[in-house]
């Protein structure tokens, strides 16, 4: 038995912890301490800003105070003359553009000829200390010629000139897509009830506690090392090679443990490239640490999304067709935006059976900090709209919203209308558990005025099916080195952002090799030393690095087995690995220690090292746009929120949330619980208070780029969370595991909105659900108007012709149909 470092000695006592072959698991499924927990609780974890090198300089970026302007001139002479300043650079020093997606290479390390939002960097300085760098930054003079500012989706689709970027669909439309799966008219004709609703989801930001920081060192070997708080060291590596014009082999990117990411550290950032260039020029290490205000400008957070959803249902709630339109306010740059746009239309079909589906999505450029991926990437917004609309449909049909959902779940092992392949599907169990646990049947529509419950469900991907840049290589690689003294080293490009990915690697390898996870050294996120893992995004790490680690460990185990079997004269199949021993299961006394097994294997085969890698299965969708949405597996969640609404003040208090999450299998239940609770917390913030808002009449300046004014839940706002884990092992997950980092956030916002309706009978079709909005809806109700607060319509735009795909049920093959009228 591996020593459980958890001093509480929690054990599964249900005797139910076995793998698919019935083998008892020793590590997987147990609440071990994280391998890096001790360092984190003693202040020894080295975050990027904790790195100090001799002769290190400090960098500051001068950021634009104009939202949209042409740079007429930049005068850096005063800054350069300041004693203690070693370098000053501007856009012309780094002219090569970059961007996370190959289709949106629209950023520059420093703006070249134009600024696009307040906070866009135009120049940078390196000086001997932070104060001098700050002073020098303020001595740089920039002359701007103002351009018209585009502040909203509505303006962006109306105003073609000036264009914020000279690429995209024309005017200020970055991307528009139109996909149609099956005959919508026929679907709506079959419906007994059709509803059309409009929703708005305000943008919000990640707010990681750690501000972004990076240290670059261009050393005497003419090689560059960058330590940075990033979720995607591999993509940063590529961006550096491109923008600095250097060989990638001469660049080393080390991702430092992230003090929170949530998607906000997934883009390559201008400050990362800038410190590298400053170090190259000065030949000294250069550090940059962003202020909290600058972190708000980096953003890449949740897109504000305006949505129109038309859904047809039968009397029993079966969906016959869904027509979904989304408008995304992208901010000033592309970032992940094209993917975000597709994601707003991708996952509607994996929770309930949606036989016919149409998606229209448009992303606009505006002069605000760029939006990108935040926990749930592009899916919380449509999920909010869809789940609130289902609540309205259930009410009209006089059905219980839980029963209605349960009846029409998407079947497991099926392919959806938009060609997403569902494997395991535990949503039904999630719903049943929260319904029972919350006493839903006795509460829904039965609580006194001011109290209410609401239900919502969701699903999320376990890793994007396709990489960000096209290639046929694995998404994740693991190297394992076995030491003749019994030590094991795991090397993997993945980065721990707090979710516990380093620990997951150790647990899985320890399980296979029968050793203690704390015997393992985990070395991650260093492009010189670790094989590529694409990064900590899209909830991909447990499944993908987990499978790669499993493969590497099984290969090592095989080598050891051959050598030990020879020594013990037993068949290989008889060997078991456990308790740091390799032994004959039939005669457990006969065996060797793990270290002896490595010695035997090394004597026979030479140095013992193995590799493992993971590539997701191919998706059945072959049409253009089919790249976003496919995943090796989907996680599922169901939540019920119980609220108290003060009708005098409009104040909503969420008292508790019951949440069921289909995890496939918990590699470590304690860490799963932490992710669920953290997801509910972040969802609560989005539901009630978090918003990125700008002064429209003051040049789109951020209203409150500070932690005090950007409201996020403290201990006093956080609700109780009652979690139910559904373990419905997925064949594609390591030991059956699916994701938990993002999914449990998704149902929280619509569950709260539905609970507010149950409490006071008004619909707030918009998040955050602030007291003002609740009061406005209550007042409308009192005046006999529609008891609702929310948007009333969407802009009229010309959509591109639909790309039509026959659904699997219609006999489709996943390819686009020829562009002729097929359904007449």
């Amino acid at each position: 038995m591996a020593t459980n470092k958890n001093s509480n000695g929690f054990r599964r006592n249900d005797g139910n912890n076995a793998d698919a072959n019935g083998k008892d698991l020793k590590v997987v499924g147990k609440p071990f301490r994280k391998v890096d927990a001790r360092a984190k609780c003693t202040g020894q974890t080295k975050f990027a800003d904790d790195i100090v090198l001799p002769r290190m300089l400090y960098a500051k970026l001068l950021r634009s105070h104009e939202p949209h302007a042409i740079i007429k001139s930049i005068d850096t002479s005063k800054a350069e003359a300041l004693p203690g300043v070693l370098a000053v650079i501007t856009g012309k020093d780094l002219p090569i553009p970059y961007g996370i997606l190959p289709v949106s290479q629209d950023e520059h390390p420093l703006c070249v000829d134009r600024v696009r939002f307040i906070g866009d960097p135009v120049a940078a300085v390196a000086a001997i200390d932070e104060d001098t760098a700050f002073e020098a930054m303020n001595l740089i003079e920039v002359e701007y010629e103002k351009l018209q500012t585009i502040t909203s989706i509505e303006e962006a689709v109306l105003i073609d000139e000036p264009r914020i970027h000279d690429y995209g669909e024309g005017g200020n439309v970055h991307k528009s897509v139109h996909l149609e799966f099956g005959d919508l008219d026929e679907g709506f004709a079959q419906a007994d009830l059709v509803r059309e609703d409009v929703f708005f989801y305000e943008g919000n930001t990640h707010l990681p506690m750690e501000q972004h920081a990076a240290v670059a060192h261009y050393d005497s070997d003419d090689k560059l090392t960058l330590w940075t708080s990033t979720q995607t060291p591999h993509y940063v590596h590529r961006a550096l090679a491109k923008t600095l014009g250097m060989r990638a082999a001469h660049i080393r990117v080390i991702a430092t443990p992230n003090g929170g990411g949530f998607g906000g550290k997934s883009d390559p950032f201008n400050h990362e490239i800038v410190v590298c260039e400053l170090s190259r020029r000065t030949r000294r290490p250069v550090k940059v640490t962003l202020t909290r205000e600058e972190v708000f400008y980096c953003h890449r957070g949740r897109h504000p999304v305006l949505m129109k959803i038309k859904t047809g249902v039968k009397k029993d709630g079966a969906i016959t067709a869904m027509d979904f339109e989304s408008f995304l306010d992208g901010g000033a740059y592309g970032s992940y935006g094209v993917a975000s746009t597709f994601y707003t239309g991708a996952l509607q079909t994996v929770t309930y059976d949606v036989p016919r589906y149409r998606f229209k999505g448009l992303r606009a450029f505006t002069n605000k900090p760029p939006c990108g991926p935040k926990r749930g990437h592009g899916t919380p917004q449509p999920r909010f709209g869809l789940e609130v609309q289902l609540d309205k449909l259930a009410e009209e049909l006089k059905l219980d919203p839980a029963e209605m959902r349960l009846k029409h779940l998407a079947p497991p092992n099926s392919v959806t209308a938009n060609y997403l392949r569902i494997g395991s599907m535990g949503l039904g169990k999630c719903i049943e558990k929260v319904v029972k646990g919350s006493d839903w049947k006795n509460k829904h529509r039965k609580l006194p005025f001011g109290k209410g419950v609401g239900l919502a469900c969701s699903s999320y991907i376990c890793g994007a099916g396709l990489p960000i840049y096209w290639n046929n290589m694995p998404h994740s690689g693991v190297q394992l080195a076995l030491d003749r003294q019994g030590g094991v080293r795991i090397q993997c490009g993945s980065i721990d952002i707090g979710q516990g990915s380093d620990s997951i690697l150790a647990y899985i390898v320890a399980e296979v090799l029968g050793i203690d996870p704390f015997d393992i050294r985990v070395l991650t996120a260093d492009t010189d030393l670790t094989p590529v893992d694409l990064g900590s995004y899209s909830s991909r790490v447990t499944l993908m690095t987990g499978n790669a680690a499993l493969q590497a460990a099984e290969r090592a185990r095989e080598l050891l087995s051959i050598a030990v079997a020879e020594k013990l004269c037993t068949p290989v199949e008889n060997l078991s690995f456990a308790d740091r021993r390799v032994f004959d299961v039939e005669n457990p006394e006969t065996g060797v220690t793990f270290a002896e097994a490595v010695v035997l294997a090394e004597s026979k085969f030479g140095t013992i090292g193995t590799v493992g890698s993971y590539t997701p299965p191919r998706s059945p969708g072959k049409f253009k746009g089919a790249g976003v949405g496919p995943s090796p597996a989907y996680s599922y969640s169901a939540a019920i929120a119980e609220v108290d609404v003060d009708a005098e003040t409009g104040f909503v208090t969420v008292e508790r949330v019951w949440i069921g999450h289909d995890i496939g299998r918990s590699i470590n239940p304690m860490l799963v619980m932490g992710q669920v609770e953290g997801g509910v917390y972040m969802g609560l913030g989005e539901a009630l208070m978090e918003e990125m808002i700008y002064r429209a009449n003051r040049n789109a300046v951020h209203k409150f780029p500070s932690m005090l004014e950007y409201k996020s839940p403290t201990t006093l706002e956080m609700c109780d969370v009652l979690t139910y884990l559904v373990e419905d092992a997925d064949p594609n997950g390591p030991f059956g595991a699916k994701e938990v980092g993002q999914g449990p956030l998704l149902p929280v916002m619509p569950a709260v909105a539905n609970a507010v309706y149950d409490a006071v009978g008004v619909r707030v079709d918009e998040v955050p659900i602030t007291p003002e909005k609740v009061l406005a809806a209550l007042r409308a109700k009192a005046r006999g108007k529609e008891a609702r607060f929310g948007p009333t319509g969407v802009p009229a735009v010309e959509w591109p012709d639909a790309l039509k795909v026959l659904t699997p049920a219609e006999g489709g093959d996943g390819k686009e149909m020829p562009r002729v009228a097929v359904h007449s």
Partner: protein
């Protein structure tokens, strides 16, 4: 162009039990002095404006935001940082329970939470959940949703009182 021509301030105080002297630019905050002039990197920062609680340390046993206190004002005081919580006897019970229960996810807010929790338990060895929430309400954590932090404080408090306490099964595995 300030401090290079000016004299550095020079103070003596006690940090984690050690008497120390340090010289620094006089406008620096205690946070900056600890991190930049003493290389005590365990104290973190999330805003440097007194908004997040990440930089909390104990001064004469009371939690303060080190980003809002001038280094000069630490003269003669006893400052405890996260580096001082572990002793030769081992981890502080709070550090043990934070590590065991996953109360530190990214770990960035953790030093601040641990020190504020330590102050709480010194004053109230058996705090209620509400008292814990109240005491920690000035510390933001974006990862945990706070629940594992409450549980870790409760478990550590019980152990420090010598009381028997087991974490409920549902805190680890969820409800049935």
């Amino acid at each position: 162009m300030s401090q290079r021509t000016k004299q550095k301030a020079h103070i003596g105080f006690n940090v984690n039990g050690d008497p120390v002297e340090v010289a620094f630019a006089p406008h620096k905050t205690l946070l900056e002095v600890l991190r930049e002039d003493m290389n005590l990197m365990g104290t973190k920062h999330g805003c440097e404006l007194g908004e997040c609680g990440t930089c909390a340390v104990l001064v004469d046993g009371r939690s303060i935001l080190s980003c809002l206190m001038l280094g000069l004002d630490a003269e003669g005081r006893h400052v405890e940082t996260i580096e001082g919580m572990e002793t030769s006897a081992g981890l502080h019970p709070l550090q043990e329970t934070f590590a065991d229960l996953g109360a530190a996810q990214c770990g960035y807010c953790t030093p601040g939470f641990l020190l504020v929790a330590k102050e709480l338990l010194a004053a109230k060895p058996n705090p209620t959940r509400e008292e814990i929430k109240e005491a920690l309400s000035g510390n933001l954590c974006r990862c945990t949703g706070y629940i594992k932090i409450y549980e870790a404080v409760e478990l550590a408090a019980a152990r420090m009182r010598g009381a028997e306490m087991e974490l409920p099964r549902e805190s680890v595995y969820g409800y049935e």
